[in-house]
Symmetry: C3
C-alpha cells in the first residue's frame, strides 16, 4: 500500500507535479504515425500528460506538436487550415509553423511587428517505429531518440496499435508489470491458444500453477522473473518480463515462432491513458495472417468503437461479459480477449485506485519495486537534477525471455545475454 | 421548512453520518431475491447507503453481501467466479466466502499465512418476502428479521418490484407519506379505475375534496389519517396511511377485494434511491390478471428501460408527458401511471430538494412529524444509544385501513384493531 | 487580455454578481413568442441569467414568467395545469397567476389565510417582435419596452430564431462584435453567395483583404468600422457594425435588396447562452424564398437537432467538419454555414475562455472597448446607481450600414444619418 500522499505523487502528471517533471524527461509516444498520413493532412488533437495539443505534418512533411489553442483568442487549431508550411487559425488567420513561430498575422497591419513577439507552445516531434514521439521537457535535456527494439525494427517486423483506457496510467502499467495474474485472468485463453500448442513453456505453466516471483533492477527499470519447477531438481523454468522506465513493458511469447509483445502506458491526463500495444519479431517480417488477426483486435490488440480508439467492449456495456462462457471455463472472468480481460479489471478498480487500501503480497514485488523506483527517480531529479534511469539508449536495448536456468543461478545473471536486444539476433523463448 | 443544517442531517446516509448510523440499525431491502436466482449464479453489484457491495448466492445457496472490491488490489468482484462456495477474484484468484473470509490465495506461497489475515467487509443477508435483506450495522445490535405483513406472507399473496429513483431517498419517502396529493396528482386515475368502481370510499372521496389530516404516533412510526365528511353528522370516513421507521409506507386500497400497497424507500446513495413497491393481500393469492398487470408496470409498479430498473418514463424524456391527455383530464399532470406521476414530480424538485425554501401547511403534518421522528431517533441513538422505533417486530405488524368512525372518536383509537396485522385475518377497507 | 478577476466580473451573471445586476436592468429576450402559441398552452421551462423559470400564457392571453418551482414543496410547475387564468401545481393543487399570486390553495382549510401570504417570484413579460421579453430587475427601474428596429417592425418584415450555444454569453457576443474574422472564417461563403454577387461591397472586400478597424462610442454602445481602400485616394469603403448594450449586434448586408442581420447573446447560465438571430428589412416584407431558406437554417440561422434548439452540427460531432471542403476552399474551416462556422470556433475556446492568455491586437479594438464599457457600466451602477447606456429607447433606434465616405471624414460622423433607424426609411448598404 501507499500513503495517500505518495499515491498522489505517483499518479499525477501535470507539468507542475513531481512525476510530471520526471515523465517530461523522456520521449513520449504521442500518436500513431498513420494518424498523420501525409503532408498537409488534417491536424489531430492530442492530449498528453494533461496538456491539450495539436499534431500536424506540414507541407514539407515536418512534424509539429503545438498548443491546441491559438495564441490570439484561444480558438482550437483543430479547425485550422494546414497549408503552405504552417497551420492557419480559422478565426483571424494567424499562422504558425511546426516550431510554434507565428509566420503570418493578416489581421494586423503589415508594419506591426506584433507577429514576431507571438509564439505558440511547441514540442519537438519525430516519427519512429510507426509512432510520432514528442519531447515535452526542457530543451537542454532532450535525450537521444528511443532505441527500444520494436521502435528500431523495419516496419514489416512490427505491428503497433493504441487503445483508450479510462483509468490513470499507473494502474494500467501495474497491470503490465503484474505477471502473477496471467495464471488466473488469462488461464483459459493461454491454455487453448493454438499458437502456444506444443511449447515447453506452456507445459511448465500447466504443471506448476504456483510460480515464485523474483525482481531484479536493470539499468533502465526492472526484470520480473516468474520461476516454475520443471520436474528436474537442478533447473527451473523462468519467464522474465522487462519493465523499462517510465512506462514500458515487454512480455515473452511461447516459442520463438511467435512475436514478442510490448506495451507503453502513457498518461492522457490523470484519469485516462493510452495503452500502446506492439507485437514484433526481431528477425522476420510478421505474416499476413498475424497482421490480419492483430488488425482484427485479437491478442493484445482490441476491436474499437468505430471512429474511435475506445474498445468495443467497454465500461458502458460491462465489457460484453458472457457469464455462460465464464461458467464453461472458456474465459476466466467472462470477458473475451487478453486485452479486455486486463483493462476491464483495471477500470473496475476506479479511475484512480485507492492504494491506501491494498493488501500486497509477495507476488506484488514487481509493482512495489516499480513504484518505488519511479518515485525515487522523480525525487532525485527534483532534489539533485539526477538523470533518470531508462533515458540512456543502451538501457533501452532489452528483450524479455523465457528459458531454463540452473537451479543455483540467479535469473538475471543466467539470462543476461537473452535479455539483451542485439539487432538481428534470434531471441530466446521456449 | 428545515434549516440547511437539519436538511443535511436528514438526507445524508453514509456510514459516518448521524442518519447513516440510524439506518444501519434496521434490515435493509437490498435486492430482489430473483436477481440471485440459484446457487453459483452471477454476482450482482448493489449500492446501499453509499457503500458499493456485491451480492452472491454460493454453491450451498447461502447469501452474501460483500465489499465489491477485492481486498488485494481493489478489482471489482463483479468479474469474479462464483463457484465452490465462494467468489474468486478474476485478477489473482483470491477467493472469499459469504462471510468475507479469504478461503484461498493461490498467488501466495502455501506456507504463507497471509490469507488468514485478510478479510473482506461482509454483511449478513437473508431472503424473506421475495427480497434479499442486509444488515449493515454493528453485529451486537442485529435485530430480529423483519415482520412486516407483506414480508411474512406466502409468496403467492404478494408481488414485489423495485425501481430506480433519481433523487435522495427522503423526498421519495415524503411522497409516500403525503396523502394530500392523491386528490390532485392522481385524481383522474383513481376516479376512473374500474377496480375502485362502486366502493364507498371512492364515493366519499369524490364528494369531499378537502380532507382534513391528522397525525398520531404509533410504536414504530406514524399514522396519517385523512378525514372526510360522509353526509352524516355523527361519522367520518377515514383513510389511514401507515409510516413505519425508517422508510416504509402502507396505503389502503378501495375495498378489500383489492390488494394493499406498500413501499420502501431505500438510499442507494445520497442522490439515488430504490423505490420498492409491494402489492399484497393478507388472505388470498393474487390473481393471474392482477399479477399480469403488475408485471406490466401498472398501478404502483412501472415499465422499465429494458435491462434496467430505470423507468421507461424518465427525466430524459420528460416522463413521456402527454399535454393532450392533461388537457382532457385523463391525467392531472399529463404523466401516465400512479407511480410515474409521483416520481416525475419528486425528481422535478431536484436531486436533493432545498427544504429551506418550503412553505409547509397543515396538510404537511405527516411529513413534518416523520422528519422530526427520524432526526430525534438518530440523535437519541447517537447521544444515548437508545434503540430506535420500528425495530421491535411487534411494531412492524401493522396495516393501513379505510373505514367509517364515529365523529367523536380519535381515528387512531377507533381504528386500533383495523391497524393491527393479525396473520390470516381480513383487513378493513371500504 | 483581462486579469482573472476582471474576467470573472465580466462573465458571471447570477443575480448577486456585478454584471448580473447590470443585465437585470434591461429587457431580456426570454423565448420565442411561438413557443407559447395560444392561451392555456403548455408552460415552457426557461433558464435565464442562472434563474430557472417557467413561462406561460394564461386563459386571457396574459404572459407570465414565474419561478419554475412551486412555493409549497418545490415541485416543477412544468407539470402544472395551465387553466382558468393560472398555473396549478400537479402535486397539491396550489395555483398561481401570472403575477405570482397564489390564487388557490385547496390542500389547506378554506378559513386559512395561508394562501394570501404565499407568493411566487414573477417577472413582467411582454411580447414584441416575435419574442417574449422579461424584465428581471427592480420594479422601480423597469425601462420602456425595447425599441430596436427589428422588434418594432411588422411581423412580415422579420424572421427570428434562437439557438443554444454551449459557452458563456460574453465569448459568443465577442464573436458578434468581431468584424475582422469575416475575411477568414467566412471568406469562401461570402465570396460565393449569389445574393452578394455584383455588389460594390463584395468587390471592395475582395480587393482589400486588410481592413483597418476603428471604434467609436455611440449613446447605447459602440460603432465598429472596418475601412477598406476603394482604389480612389479620396474615399474609403466602410462597413459599420453596431453593438448595443448589453448584448445586441447589427450587421450590414451587401446591398439593400438583402435584409440586415442582428443578434442578441443572452445568458442562460454562465456556461450556456441563447444566440438569437434576426433577419429584417426595414421597408419590405421578407420574400417566401428568403423565409424558406431562413427556416431551413441557412445564413445566420441553423438546422436543429429535432425537438431542440441545439444545432445539428455541434460539439459532439465536431460540427460535421468536412476536411475535403476545407482543402478545396469551399469553406475556410471545413464547417458549413455562417452560423456554425462562428459557434464551432467559439465553443472550441472552452466553455469560459481564459482571457488571461489572450494576445489582442489592433483588430480587437471593438472587443476591448465593449468589455470595458460593460464593466464600467456595471461598476457605475453598483457605485452610484447610474442608469446604464442602451436603456433609453432613443439609443436603440440604430442600424448598421456600409457605404463610401470621404477619406478625411470620421466614419461615425460621415455615416451618422445612415446609422439612425428612422421608421419606414430605406437603409444604406452597398
Amino acid at each position: 500500500m501507499l500513503t495517500r500522499e505518495r499515491n498522489e505523487l505517483l499518479v499525477r502528471s501535470d507539468h507542475d507535479t513531481l512525476m510530471g517533471r520526471l515523465l517530461r524527461r523522456y520521449w513520449v509516444p504521442a500518436l500513431l504515425a498513420e494518424e498523420l498520413p501525409e503532408p498537409d493532412c488534417p491536424p489531430v488533437r492530442v492530449k498528453l500528460l494533461g496538456e491539450q495539443l495539436i499534431a500536424l505534418r506540414d507541407s514539407d512533411g515536418r512534424l509539429g506538436l503545438l498548443d491546441e489553442f491559438c495564441a490570439h483568442r484561444g480558438v482550437s487549431l483543430f479547425f485550422g487550415r494546414n497549408e503552405e508550411c504552417g497551420l492557419r487559425c480559422s478565426y483571424h488567420g494567424w499562422k504558425f509553423d511546426v516550431d510554434g513561430n507565428c509566420v503570418d498575422m493578416p489581421s494586423e497591419p503589415d508594419e506591426s511587428n506584433f507577429k514576431d513577439r507571438v509564439r505558440l507552445k511547441s514540442y519537438p516531434a519525430v516519427e519512429r517505429g510507426g509512432i510520432v514521439w514528442a519531447y515535452m521537457g526542457p530543451e537542454e535535456h532532450r535525450p537521444p531518440l528511443p532505441e527500444l527494439e520494436w521502435a528500431a525494427l523495419p516496419a514489416e517486423r512490427r505491428f503497433v496499435s493504441k487503445r483508450l483506457q479510462e483509468t490513470n496510467w499507473v494502474q494500467a502499467m501495474e497491470g503490465g508489470i503484474d505477471s502473477s495474474h496471467v495464471s488466473f485472468t488469462h488461464r483459459y485463453d493461454i491454455a487453448e491458444d493454438p499458437m502456444h500448442a506444443g511449447t515447453a513453456g506452456l507445459a511448465y505453466i500447466k504443471a506448476d500453477r504456483h510460480p515464485r516471483f523474483e525482481v531484479a533492477e536493470s539499468d533502465g527499470g526492472l526484470l520480473i522473473g516468474a520461476r516454475r519447477n520443471t520436474g528436474e531438481d537442478d533447473e527451473y523454468y523462468w519467464r522474465i518480463t522487462q519493465w523499462l522506465m517510465p512506462w514500458y513493458t515487454i512480455i515473452p511469447p511461447f516459442g520463438t515462432h511467435n512475436p514478442l509483445g510490448a506495451h507503453a502506458w502513457v498518461p492522457i491526463d490523470d484519469e485516462h491513458c493510452w495503452a500502446w500495444s506492439i507485437n514484433y519479431h526481431p528477425t522476420r517480417a510478421l505474416r499476413a495472417d498475424e497482421l490480419d488477426s492483430m488488425r482484427a483486435g485479437e491478442g493484445i490488440h482490441v476491436e474499437y468503437v468505430p471512429g474511435t480508439f475506445r474498445p468495443k467492449a467497454n465500461r458502458d456495456n460491462d465489457y460484453l461479459i458472457d457469464r455462460e462462457a465464464q461458467r464453461q471455463k472458456k474465459t476466466f472472468s467472462g470477458v473475451a480477449g487478453i486485452s479486455a480481460q486486463d483493462f476491464s479489471l483495471q477500470e473496475s478498480m476506479g479511475v484512480i485506485v485507492d492504494r491506501t487500501k491494498e493488501r500486497l503480497g509477495t507476488s506484488d514485488a514487481g509493482i512495489i519495486t516499480a513504484r518505488r523506483r519511479l518515485l525515487r527517480a522523480a525525487q532525485l531529479l527534483a532534489d539533485k537534477g539526477e538523470t533518470p534511469p531508462g533515458i540512456a539508449v543502451e538501457s533501452q536495448r532489452v528483450r524479455s525471455a523465457s528459458l531454463l536456468l540452473p537451479a543455483d543461478e540467479a535469473f538475471h545473471v543466467g539470462a543476461r545475454d537473452a535479455l539483451r536486444a542485439e539487432p538481428g539476433t534470434e531471441f530466446v523463448s521456449i
